[in-house]
């Protein structure tokens, strides 16, 4: 079986209309370590302009013909990626070690993730890498408030890049950062103007690359490290971001039954799940990572990062509260471990972050 870590990572660069995705991509492609990167572009209207901007990557660029990478044209992405791989295998284009897909401004990135993870051929050659969402500091607040597409793009991001901060009032930038942290507190926010765009940090460092695994976990869970008092439920519109902690080991079988059932019924509302689990019978923490219906194969860290052995799972949901998910998972876990069946009702009251299972 092909090791998941050895598959070619595909990064998705998304962001609302006019957010500056192509500018960020053009800057990324100038980095020396991006030399062996193939790029797929998908943009409404400004195809020629975008193509010109990344002209130096033309040899490895495949331009999608359709306007939007949504479910309806998933076949197009499949064909493009298969074609890219075939041409590389035949020696018609240079070898590449990474693929970057730039989506259209109105795209839902999840079908792209699904195509990569579930397509019978692609899943043996490619894996999903970090999803990078570009947010315009000038207009981003308005886009997030008005367009669910923009909010979802931010919610499922692994990295958020702020663009045009040099054109934005400082107070507005602070408000936007606060809003983004509420929607998705697991994604580091990078200021493209001030911090620059580090290709490795944005694209390469994820939980399937040894050098990036620890940093990725810190980003997922950093805000919640240190104890119960940091766990919170942040609400913005109907998107909730919260972290559940479990004192006892979780049964992997029961967890699988629960999560598949949850994603089947509520996958459209569970925007992200990221977690570090203490699984019964497994010495090292198991990492889980899901985007709506798409779940990455679990991986593990080598050893626990500290003495805290609690499982912790971050959820970003739309319209589903923390208490319901917490009670449901505890009930399912108790099926495998009746001795731990007691649900701590005190833990279900607002502000109480931990549930003993």
């Amino acid at each position: 079986m092909t090791q998941y870590e050895t598959l070619i990572p595909i990064n998705v660069i998304t962001g609302f209309l006019g957010s500056g995705k192509t500018t960020v991509l053009a800057r990324l492609l100038r980095a020396p370590d991006m030399g062996e990167t193939a790029v797929l572009i998908n943009e409404f209207g400004e195809v020629g302009l975008d193509h010109q901007l990344i002209e130096h990557a033309e040899e490895s660029t495949l331009l999608l013909e359709n306007g939007c990478l949504c479910c309806a044209i998933r076949d197009d992405l499949k064909t493009s990626l298969r074609n890219l791989f075939s041409r590389c295998a035949r020696g018609e284009i240079p070898q590449f070690r990474r693929v970057v897909i730039e989506t259209s401004g109105l795209a839902d990135p999840v079908p792209i993730a699904y195509t990569i993870m579930a397509e019978p051929v692609l899943q043996y050659h490619f894996r999903l890498g970090n999803v990078v969402t570009v947010v315009d500091a000038v207009n981003g607040m308005g886009s997030l408030a008005r367009y669910s597409e923009a909010e979802k793009q931010a919610a499922i991001a692994d990295r958020i890049v702020l663009s045009k901060t040099d054109m934005c009032e400082p107070g507005n930038e602070a408000a936007l950062r606060s809003k983004l942290a509420e929607i998705n507190h697991t994604a580091p926010i990078i200021d493209a103007a001030r911090d620059g765009v580090d290709a490795a940090a944005l694209l390469a460092h994820d939980i399937y690359e040894p050098e990036g695994k620890r940093a990725a976990i810190d980003a997922w869970l950093g805000e919640h490290d240190g104890g119960h008092e940091h766990a919170r439920a942040a609400h913005t519109s109907d998107v909730s971001s919260f972290c559940l902690w479990f004192d006892g080991p979780l049964d992997w079988t029961a967890f699988g039954v629960w999560m598949t059932m949850l994603l089947n019924r509520h996958g459209d509302k569970v925007l992200r799940i990221k977690g570090m689990l203490n699984v019964e019978g497994v010495a090292d923490p198991v990492l889980i990572n899901g985007v709506q219906h798409v779940v990455h194969p679990p991986t593990h860290m080598t050893g626990w990062p500290d003495d805290d052995r609690r499982s912790r799972i971050v959820f970003i949901t739309r319209g589903i509260g923390r208490e319901r998910i917490e009670a449901s998972l505890a009930a399912f876990n108790a099926l495998a471990n009746p001795a731990a069946a007691t649900i701590d009702r005190d833990a279900l009251t607002p502000g109480a972050p931990s549930l003993s299972v």
Partner: protein
């Protein structure tokens, strides 16, 4: 490909430890694939009972999901179980349903 039904196989489902040895290598010695499938089936049946359904392991390769009247479908993994369960019952199988959780707690 399955020689019986001709279905193309994909990468193992994420819930199956055997498909992700990198994550579960440390317990593969103690937990056989069959034993884990047995436990998975058992736990799923606790839930499916609420909907009048039952799940059986089929030769360690697939699962059989049946109604009380005997109508049966073949599914490959847990994700497909819930899709098929909703089709068979013409209803929703919701893990957040308070009625289901109350029944689980009572049992």
């Amino acid at each position: 490909m399955c020689s019986l039904c001709g279905v193309l196989g994909g990468r193992g489902h994420w819930t199956e430890s055997a498909s992700t040895p990198e994550a579960f290598a440390s317990r593969l010695d103690a937990t056989t694939r069959r034993r884990e499938r047995q436990q998975r089936t058992q736990i799923a049946n606790h839930i499916l009972k609420h909907y009048g359904l039952a799940l059986r392991d089929w030769s360690g390769s697939s699962y059989l999901l049946s109604t009380k009247t005997g109508r049966t479908v073949i599914v490959d993994n847990l994700s497909e179980v819930w899709i098929a369960a909703e089709q068979l019952t013409q209803g929703e199988c919701d893990p957040l349903d308070e009625g289901l959780l109350a029944e689980l707690s009572a049992n």
